[in-house]
């Protein structure tokens, strides 16, 4: 187990460098960011040169990358164009997005898995068909449509929620945005669970458990569900990263000042430091989530053991 984890951690290193380098290059080919800072007028050349020097933009790209990575390892993610430390931006943005992601994940787990179990056990019945149609609708409608519609109906027309989330972004304010963010994944979780449950229902061990006279609840939860969760856990695990990065649309709709907001601003203003910094952390989140998923397999299915 320990060796497996170490091997996986070592594998992360090239992925990490590759991903950050790619982002670094992508932001850099977009052109000269300083020109945008001065608005519709031209920066005076002396100030522009001075700014470039301050942000290290006067050096060749590879040198910028090396310096940047060197700084990252000392915990210095650089300064955004508005004079704020990128770490400071992260400190305000990540807690908000993590909260939003957690709300979304809870929705995925609670609603997605319950619906999946329900439909998996009642395959072909009206409830199964209804849920299947519903999930199809949710999957096919883009998130921004669902988001804008809910915002307009619940927020503006009926006044149930506030159309925009306040800067504190408390959990109760994040419920609707979280639901919107979770919606597509939730539908997938439902379908995955349903298929997996329906498949395993006819498995020998389930028949054995039923034959042993175990209570139905125990059969479903301990035996059937536990074995059916492997694909679902894989999905949810990788989804954590996707949700954090993909929150950009939901965050924009509901005016949530999280990672998506900062990334959006960073891209618009071509602030290399902000974009690379945030993406670096997101890459780490992705990698960690993947590792955790792999380790969870062993918990769910004792036959999977990492030597």
């Amino acid at each position: 187990m320990g060796r497996y984890v170490i091997r996986r951690l070592l594998q992360m290193i090239p992925v990490f460098f590759g991903a950050t380098l790619l982002i670094f290059l992508m932001v850099n080919v977009m052109g000269d960011p300083i020109a945008g800072l001065c608005g519709d007028r031209k920066c005076d050349p002396a100030t522009a040169a001075q700014l470039k020097k301050e942000f290290g933009l006067d050096k060749p790209v590879w040198q910028q990358y090396v310096t940047y990575m060197g700084n990252v390892f000392t915990g210095d993610f650089g300064t955004a164009f508005n004079g704020q430390k990128v770490t400071e931006l992260m400190g305000t943005a990540f807690p908000v997005t993590v909260r939003l992601t957690l709300v979304a994940i809870v929705f995925e787990i609670v609603i997605g898995i319950s619906l999946g179990v329900l439909t998996g056990l009642r395959r072909g019945r009206p409830i199964d068909t209804t849920v299947l149609i519903l999930t199809l609708v949710v999957i096919s409608v883009p998130t921004f449509v669902t988001g804008l519609l809910l915002q307009l109906l619940l927020g503006v027309e009926w006044g149930v929620i506030k159309p925009s989330v306040s800067s504190e972004a408390t959990v109760d304010e994040l419920i609707v945005p979280g639901l919107v963010l979770a919606s597509v994944s939730l539908a997938y979780v439902t379908r995955l669970t349903r298929t997996s449950i329906a498949e395993n229902r006819r498995a020998d061990y389930v028949r054995t458990a039923v034959a042993k006279g175990l209570p139905r609840r125990r059969v479903v939860l301990r035996h059937l569900l536990r074995n059916s969760l492997i694909p679902v856990v894989t999905f949810i695990g990788t989804d954590v990263g996707a949700l954090m990065g993909g929150a950009i649309v939901t965050e924009r709709i509901f005016n949530i000042h999280g990672v998506g907001f900062q990334l959006y601003q960073g891209i618009l203003r071509q602030s290399t430091q902000t974009v690379v910094g945030f993406v670096t952390v997101l890459v780490l989140v992705f990698l960690a989530a993947n590792l955790i998923v792999d380790l969870l397999y062993a918990v769910l299915d004792p036959r999977i053991r990492y030597a």
Partner: protein, 540 residues
């Protein structure tokens, strides 16, 4: 009805002044303590006076700072604020006297040193201030802000503190309207606290304006409260303003409709169709000092050969400004008639006739002129714009359509989108664009000089197209040296006539400021910079 509101406002102001009692419509927050919730955008640069060059940061500076002069929100006239007097004999050396008794909200007195230090800071190269060029007229600027190399002086030699309330300014050239530029936020005074601990000051800026900052969460919210120690006569009529950062103005609009916000100072284009229904007379659409033009690459010999002025004039006549401003912009733009803005007023140099028939749509004449001038270089006019903000694609396509139709050729004009604003600006400012590009000019101060000199003077900072005309330059120099304001303005207009003759840039339209507000507030208006006059807003 509007008159009635104003009368009430005046009466209330008088009552406040006399008895220092509250005044209002009776119930609720009508006692002047109500807080206005307003939309905001994340300022692009740190909030320093000389480093702020966009509306969002400027909005805050206008609330927490008062400079020597202030532009009257209604007329745009530069009136003395902190200045008691600004005197000159030769339009080059000025003696500034600061009013007594002004304070910063941390208790420090506003003295002549507050100004001199702030200006020296703003001008110095090592401080990276994006508005440093505002101090470019002051003698010694080339020493503290050389075009190349390190500064050879730390302070501007043209600035001298005489005593606590007096300082002198020596300019490097005659500039008769210079005092009127001093209303720009870059010229604001800075307290000692700024120089002692800049980081702390930036976290919570302290100024001498009608509001002080109660809390500032960067990137999301700023709470400003009425400052009772304020010395000016434009005291805040409300208890404060909460500025909330929105990523998208349509969310702000939704919040306004849902009653969570009082003021949106940028109505989203998609809502312009409904805004009259939604808000009625709580929708404001007034001219601002912004003009949009099409610029041309004068650095490219194809565009400077004889006869090209006819082509440019023809292209100008091929654009149906009336139709585009009505259908695409829902009348939030006004077809341009000159190279300035109506907010200057006739006395300030705005003219309805300067562009003449060259700004009127006339397809037949347009085609004729373009042909006479030898046709569009390369056969196709490429109009570059940035695609990330401002929905420029729509109107560029419309302009091209109009040109194509007028010239009877579907390939006369195409739009050329560039991904980000930064990239667009970097290509424009490095003379890498061929064909035309969209250009916008938002005035720094309501002076005709500001619409002409920085944009069309030879090698001026915003002359991206490298337009050059000796005749124009000479007239601008002459106008600047003119001591009589009326004469200066008319000489500037003569210079503008040179632009008209050369069609140095095609004037498209003047941009309006648009805002909407809830029924919880009243007396909302926009100044010439399309920024709400926050201090005058009353919470009912």
């Amino acid at each position: 009805m509007r008159g009635a509101t104003h009368a009430k406002w005046a009466a209330c102001a008088a009552a406040v002044a006399l008895a220092a009692t509250a005044c209002g419509g009776g119930s609720g927050g009508g006692d002047g303590s109500g807080v206005v919730g307003s939309s905001w955008g994340d300022p692009q640069n740190p909030l320093e006076p000389a480093n702020t060059n966009e509306v969002q940061g400027g909005k805050v500076l206008d609330m927490i700072f008062r400079g020597l002069k202030r532009y009257d929100p209604k007329t745009g006239e530069a009136k003395d604020m902190v200045a008691e007097s600004i005197e000159t004999k030769d339009s080059q050396t000025y003696t500034v006297k600061v009013k007594d008794g002004w304070k910063f909200s941390n208790g420090e007195a506003v003295t002549s040193k507050s100004f001199v230090d702030a200006w020296n800071y703003g001008a110095h190269l090592k401080n990276n201030q994006k508005g440093a060029y505002f101090f470019g007229y002051i003698e010694g600027y080339d020493k503290v802000h050389p075009e190349k190399g390190d500064p050879s002086a730390d302070t501007l030699s043209g600035l001298k503190v005489v005593d606590a309330r007096t300082f002198t300014v020596k300019l490097s050239q005659k500039f008769s309207t210079w005092p009127e530029t001093l209303g720009y936020p870059a010229f604001a005074p800075l307290p000692k606290a700024f120089f002692d601990d800049r980081a702390a000051w930036l976290a919570k800026p302290v100024g001498n304006g009608p509001y002080s900052i109660k809390s500032y969460q960067k990137g999301s919210k700023m709470e400003l409260r009425k400052w009772d120690g304020y010395s000016g006569d434009d005291k805040a009529q409300n208890g404060g303003v909460d500025l909330k950062v929105y990523t998208d103005n349509s969310i702000a609009y939704n919040d306004l409709m849902a009653g969570n916000l009082d003021l949106v100072d940028d109505v989203p284009a998609a809502q312009l169709r409904n805004v009259k229904n939604d808000l009625g007379d709580r929708y404001i659409n007034t001219p601002a000092g912004i003009i949009q033009t099409l610029s041309f690459p004068f650095y490219d010999s194809k565009w400077t050969r004889p006869g090209m002025e006819k082509v440019r004039k023809g292209l100008s006549m091929a654009i149906n400004r009336q139709q585009i401003t009505e259908t695409i912009f829902q009348k939030t733009r006004t077809p341009a008639k000159d190279w300035t803005s109506p907010v200057l007023g006739e006395d300030g140099g705005y003219s309805k006739s300067l562009c003449g028939d060259a700004c009127d749509y006339d397809a037949a004449q347009a085609k004729k002129l373009v042909q006479e001038g030898g046709g569009i270089p390369g056969g196709t006019l490429k109009i570059s714009y940035n695609a990330d903000t401002g929905s420029h694609k729509e109107w560029v396509d419309a302009v091209c359509n109009s040109i194509n139709k007028a010239l009877g050729n579907n390939r006369s004009c195409v739009g050329n989108s560039i991904g980000t604003f930064a990239d667009f600006r970097s290509q424009a400012s490095q003379q890498k664009l061929d064909g035309a590009w969209r250009a916008g000019w938002q005035m720094d101060y309501p002076l005709i000089q500001n619409f002409l000199q920085p944009v069309y003077y030879t090698d001026a900072p915003s002359n991206d197209g490298k337009y050059n005309s000796k005749e124009f330059d000479a007239l601008v120099d002459k106008a600047n040296a003119e001591t009589d304001t009326g004469k200066a303005v008319s000489t500037f207009q003569d210079a503008e006539k040179v632009l008209a003759k050369d069609m140095a840039a095609i004037p498209l339209w003047y941009q309006n400021g648009s805002a909407g507000y809830s029924d919880r507030v009243s007396d909302v208006s926009l100044n010439q910079f399309s920024v709400p006059v926050y201090a005058e807003i009353k919470v009912n």
